[in-house]
Subunit: 496 residues, 4 copies
Amino acid sequence: MNIIGHWINDEVIIKENSRTQAVYHPSTGEIGAQVALADANTTQDAIAAAQEAFATWKTITPMRRARILFKFKELLEQNIDTLAELIGKEHGKILHDAKGEIQRGIEVVEYACGAPELLKGEFTKNVGSEIDSWSDFAPLGVVAGITPFNFPTMVPLWMIPMAIVCGNTFVLKPSEKDPSAALFIAKLLHQAGLPKGVLNVVNGDKEAVDTLLSDSRVQAVSFVGSTPIAEHIYRTASAHGKRCQALGGAKNHAIVMPDADLDNVINSLLGAAFGSSGERCMALSVAVTVGQEMGDKLINGLKKAMQTLKVGAYHDNDNHFGALISQAHKQNVQAHIDSAERQGANIVVDGRNPHVAGYENGFYVGATLIDNVTPDMDSYRAEIFGPVLQVIRVDTIAEALILINQHEYGNGTCIYTQDGGTARYFCDNVQAGMVGVNVPLPVPVAYHSFGGWKRSLFGDLHIYGPDGIRFYTKRKTITQRWIANKESAIFSMPTL
Amino acid sequence: MNIIGHWINDEVIIKENSRTQAVYHPSTGEIGAQVALADANTTQDAIAAAQEAFATWKTITPMRRARILFKFKELLEQNIDTLAELIGKEHGKILHDAKGEIQRGIEVVEYACGAPELLKGEFTKNVGSEIDSWSDFAPLGVVAGITPFNFPTMVPLWMIPMAIVCGNTFVLKPSEKDPSAALFIAKLLHQAGLPKGVLNVVNGDKEAVDTLLSDSRVQAVSFVGSTPIAEHIYRTASAHGKRCQALGGAKNHAIVMPDADLDNVINSLLGAAFGSSGERCMALSVAVTVGQEMGDKLINGLKKAMQTLKVGAYHDNDNHFGALISQAHKQNVQAHIDSAERQGANIVVDGRNPHVAGYENGFYVGATLIDNVTPDMDSYRAEIFGPVLQVIRVDTIAEALILINQHEYGNGTCIYTQDGGTARYFCDNVQAGMVGVNVPLPVPVAYHSFGGWKRSLFGDLHIYGPDGIRFYTKRKTITQRWIANKESAIFSMPTL
Amino acid sequence: MNIIGHWINDEVIIKENSRTQAVYHPSTGEIGAQVALADANTTQDAIAAAQEAFATWKTITPMRRARILFKFKELLEQNIDTLAELIGKEHGKILHDAKGEIQRGIEVVEYACGAPELLKGEFTKNVGSEIDSWSDFAPLGVVAGITPFNFPTMVPLWMIPMAIVCGNTFVLKPSEKDPSAALFIAKLLHQAGLPKGVLNVVNGDKEAVDTLLSDSRVQAVSFVGSTPIAEHIYRTASAHGKRCQALGGAKNHAIVMPDADLDNVINSLLGAAFGSSGERCMALSVAVTVGQEMGDKLINGLKKAMQTLKVGAYHDNDNHFGALISQAHKQNVQAHIDSAERQGANIVVDGRNPHVAGYENGFYVGATLIDNVTPDMDSYRAEIFGPVLQVIRVDTIAEALILINQHEYGNGTCIYTQDGGTARYFCDNVQAGMVGVNVPLPVPVAYHSFGGWKRSLFGDLHIYGPDGIRFYTKRKTITQRWIANKESAIFSMPTL
Amino acid sequence: MNIIGHWINDEVIIKENSRTQAVYHPSTGEIGAQVALADANTTQDAIAAAQEAFATWKTITPMRRARILFKFKELLEQNIDTLAELIGKEHGKILHDAKGEIQRGIEVVEYACGAPELLKGEFTKNVGSEIDSWSDFAPLGVVAGITPFNFPTMVPLWMIPMAIVCGNTFVLKPSEKDPSAALFIAKLLHQAGLPKGVLNVVNGDKEAVDTLLSDSRVQAVSFVGSTPIAEHIYRTASAHGKRCQALGGAKNHAIVMPDADLDNVINSLLGAAFGSSGERCMALSVAVTVGQEMGDKLINGLKKAMQTLKVGAYHDNDNHFGALISQAHKQNVQAHIDSAERQGANIVVDGRNPHVAGYENGFYVGATLIDNVTPDMDSYRAEIFGPVLQVIRVDTIAEALILINQHEYGNGTCIYTQDGGTARYFCDNVQAGMVGVNVPLPVPVAYHSFGGWKRSLFGDLHIYGPDGIRFYTKRKTITQRWIANKESAIFSMPTL
């Protein structure tokens, strides 16, 4: 069987006797390949490759680094079908959705092409008399990224172009569940002219991760995944003195106000709740209806609209969404539905154990709608990460805000309304990092930055966009004076 | 005896039966007061006061918050003599130096007055068709500052104005060795119109610090102190999920090139090495001379110039520098000199146990010059934090750079040269966060940011200046669309 | 009788045999003083003073320049009553309104205090290999401001603090109708520590203006006034090679949508239309009601609310607004009302020739409301600059937008609505530089920039705020390379 | 014979009976084609096409506009040989130099690809209590560019990508001497997906220019050419109320200090003085040597080095530079050499009437070096725009600075030195917009901005880079408040 290796110094590395793990094709339930799991030595090889490449890469001008990304963008566009196929096969998402993911990744590449502008420091003539001062944003060295299964292309591209265009070298540990997209990206970057060692990919599990977190050559760690792991990563990386941004889980609520445009709510919620089977940290998993009337209308509308939804294999673009990532995850999602039912919620549309003809062993859960959910239910408190939309009914926007603000997570949120004042009040008072007004998936575009609040993000800088540049650089401030005249020693604190 | 209390909700708090610690007057060696040491309860009171004040303070417009700082600046200028006296008495630095410190703090206040400009977010019309997106920089909530003895006014002012102008509320734990300046600042801010609870001061030791680091209401921690404590603070705050910037120790080298202007070198080194008795994290404590000739000239020149230096009590502005902070620290500094001597260095000017007439019990060490220091000596590897200048002689700038780049710390550094190419090479290749060219104390001005590299700073954002604003705010990104027309649900990742 | 002179090199200058002009007190109709009108020689003296002061002033660090403005702000606040009295007496506006004007001016001073941040250039390391480049924003030299009667303090303060903090020196020609406020400002700046010659004030008319426009030492001209004069200033200054920003007239419309909050509309329109007797370039002079019902409600509501309005002398804070600037202007305003009436509009509330007891010779016009105005009326096309609110009724927002977009002017505009989509549509499609949503006087705050579109502004940069900094500086870009190695001559265009 | 037409609405337009003008091939002296000269009607057609295209183009999101430029960059790179051939044939510059020019143009395209970042406005929450304000940078509409013969690709690309990525539509009037490159660019943009009418090209002379300057639909004019024309353009465009940036002539001096690296000086001066036959507004045409010794060394060194220089036909990459643009210009350049000789200068190397075998009718002048030039000579005061380097000898840097600062032009300048203090003094005190330190052609990179001082630029904003974005947009400031509560009318100036 095919073994998926690592990418170190522009070579595919598969060590003998390496531990491996099965890579499934969720649409069929079959094992597609084995992925090698890097041990500490292999991970250190990748770090060493990156460390060696850094000495030269940091001296390349920002414009030249950016030009490799211009070329990389071209290659991504030319190879979008191949890459989407890799994603669909190993992740299970439908090809149209895989291409959407790639497109979002390309947008970060486009942003990183602007590096010469983004890396400008600040210059002040005469901070004191004939003394100048300026800032320079230097690369950190070797930085690491640890990315989740749900966006095998987009999330690595949130990190890699930003990090390398700043002059860093990179070690990526992608999800071992769908590793092929990351390797393909590495090859495209090589083809675009990236020098060897600047980007390395190690597949692996805890051993690889722990090596990255503890190796003193790794200067910074970016992580996207679940909150417990994010918290562990943040603690461990920080304990080793590294800078770290660790993005965790989410429970994204939409408030549906009585004046909302119902058609827009229903249409956009379908995609936001069930797209990619809900395996998105920005998935809209809770709708909070304000007023009994809107609650009823929304349930009825969704129920009807969901009849048209098709779950199925990744390669059929008529499907709306595909299989979950694994059998275990499928069972986990269904257990959440069971739990909601048991605790008194109303399963309006039940997607458990759907029949997908020809793909009976795929890891499918159908679109599920649950009404009358309450904040104390286990299924409400957890991040389900499946095609499950829960509805909570409240009487006022104040109640809705309390729900959101008291939840552990604060990633994304949205309000549906036509009223400017209501929208402003919501945006101002909601405790979440990414807020939509009539936009259920308010993922910031590449030239803004992505990140949540509360336990959805550990660290201070968001990912990609302006914050991404700041995260991947360290500030050096130079103060310069050229001597013409003599003067006396100054013993007091000099005040400029 | 006078007991120095805490400042909580605009009141001086001294609890009965509180633990206390002596506050010395280093110039005389006498105990001037006792300072109360906050227990966990008192610290939590301060946090609670800040938490309560936050609800209102965050809603005040940036301009109104800034106007309190405009007034605060006026008050600092009006009260500079009183404040300098408090600093001098408890810290030992000479009044002219205390005023310099205050002036540097005022500059941060001036910068923070520009909050309406500094807090601007970014607005994009049409991130997608008729979809807008913008960022808002929100305050974090309660933030804490833990500050060192050596700048009892300046370092608190690196944090407080930045944090509060962003809409946060603050708990300061200043050094228990010289706590009065911080309390005076708190009163001036009250007088300037700061609402109660926005700034609170708790004096204390490990118990107060541990409470600040573990209390879940504290959102962020800024620390300035020694590297071992900085590392502990960074680990512990991060382990509790907080954002943290922790600034540690330094060993700042100056490279003296053969073409340097010798008069400028000598004059500026005197202040940079011995000012404030070397108790500055930006003190210039190592001179690296390039070429034998410059080594000899510098030693001879310094030796002669140091004859004029006067160490003595804080209130005499004719003195160049004053006592060290404590008897223990005096012994520690002298032990470093002993060690250098024992390990083969040449004590050119010996400041051990100076006689300061009338102040025989003060904690004085005179200006000390040590030649022929080598990188393996204990005194070279340590941060001495006393009026001790060590000289290392090398043959080339490359050797000098290796010294600096291999040292544990990377705070400040400087080169003395007349040559543009040499300066550029140095700035480009030196591993330090703050770099001077013919400027031995390259402390960034308030509108740039302060911070070192390597083990001199843990975290990603520097302190005050643009980074300070980013550290004290969290980013919220809003994406807004108003509905006019209907459209179909989108199941793919939307690409704008 | 008192003669108001010029302010040149920190001295009040009154030349013998100077032409003079009466300065009226509009509240009483009496002549309060004579103002000297500068001839070409006197104006050139002011320019020469500024030119001489520039040599030193440009070398002062931005921080030190800013500190004079910090002090100036204190002085403005301390002297607000005196300054308001000067404004009220010569302009006629009520003291509460004069203080509002001063406060707006102070805000620009506050913004200019941030000069060290605002004047930062951009630094790029490695535009080419080991080649650096950065920008520096240098002052222009002598710049001139020509300001209108309606804001004798605020408009000069839109220019002066911005220009001088950038390192320029300034010659102000304020309105000869109310010159005293500008002279008072000059004295406060002197008191704040501004070196002599940095700010000079010449009173005068066309002769002074023409001298400023043609003297080759004047590098830039800022003008605020009526459109015909603005156009003349722009042409003439440009023909002499100067940079110029010339702000002209306005006809600011508010669209009142059927869903608008009527109370807010009425309350805010009263101030926006009649405050300062409508002598504001941001006065709201046309209300466009959408739908017959809102038209009727608005007319009825305004009619009733206007009964409470009091017009009278400046010193009585119970008055809502005061006299117009001159007898001629009063007649002009009334002629516009006559014309509207003659052309078929309905004078709902008639403020012509009001009786103001005790001030029978003051230049008063009462608040006037005119219904059923049409776009072809003369009174609609002109800028009336009096307390006259005209109402046009339309059926759709599209019609309302066409009205605004086809008008000659494009200064400010506003929409009243509760609907987010309506507001966004309006903001996106309206042709005006300053747009309010439920804000009838959308004057940008000091840290944004002020300026209209179409024939309301000639030039490319708006006034004050970020554009103000750019207007008052010229960009210098330095590219620097230090030589270490030899290389061959490059004959092609070098590409970095 | 081939007639070169216009490009309007994606079609090549050649009207019958149009006036035409010969387009020469300077390398051979032959006429290569006739170019149609647009009359007013044709020019208005182009404006009308642009006006019509604007309605849609302005609504396209910045990202989508940028993507057309990403594609355009690819096409420019793929077609660089074809484009260079067009340039070389009609302009005469050698192919390697033509490619350098194209590469510089591509860099502006790359910069413009960052439009989503560059077009961000500024957002402020709470300018007043619950009032928000933000800025939006809107396109102007139809803008025009008028470009010179010497960079038939680069200068149009300084304007076009910047203008169109901001949402404007464009009418270009390139030089009628070498019009083909601009037409080729237009076709590539069409191929990249630019909608028709967004870019139009009219060839022509005064009639076309006057039409562009006076047509009220043209909102802004960018011009690059000689100073007398620049001044005329600036006056005329301004008199028609347009915004205008007009870049004129230059006389760029290099100061050669006694400590300069002579090899670098000589090598880099050869390219800077004679590259492109000196037909560059950044050509280095005057060397000012400080000290007699450096004067002699430089003359001797240049004299020797110039022996290797080859002038000849554009297609031979062994040639260093090519023919001048026309016979008339050749005679003009030679007349300047004659004049210098007549007025007492020393013609060290005489390039008049060189023999270029096989190209006897080409418009060649060889590299010419003139010593002992003085400031009063006619050849010194004029912009020669030919391969002529003049040397002036002075004793001090102060004298050298006076020369530069007193010259009419202030475009570029350079100093050769090794000394940091000398460089800083020069940069600070020289009156020029673009300053090099050991860089003789300090053309700002695309992400900085290009522009001179004094009579080298009329207007306030430089071309391309950050200033280019500001020039091609107009600021709209929105202030928004949503109504929740009632309040009283405010008659005073509201202070936020």
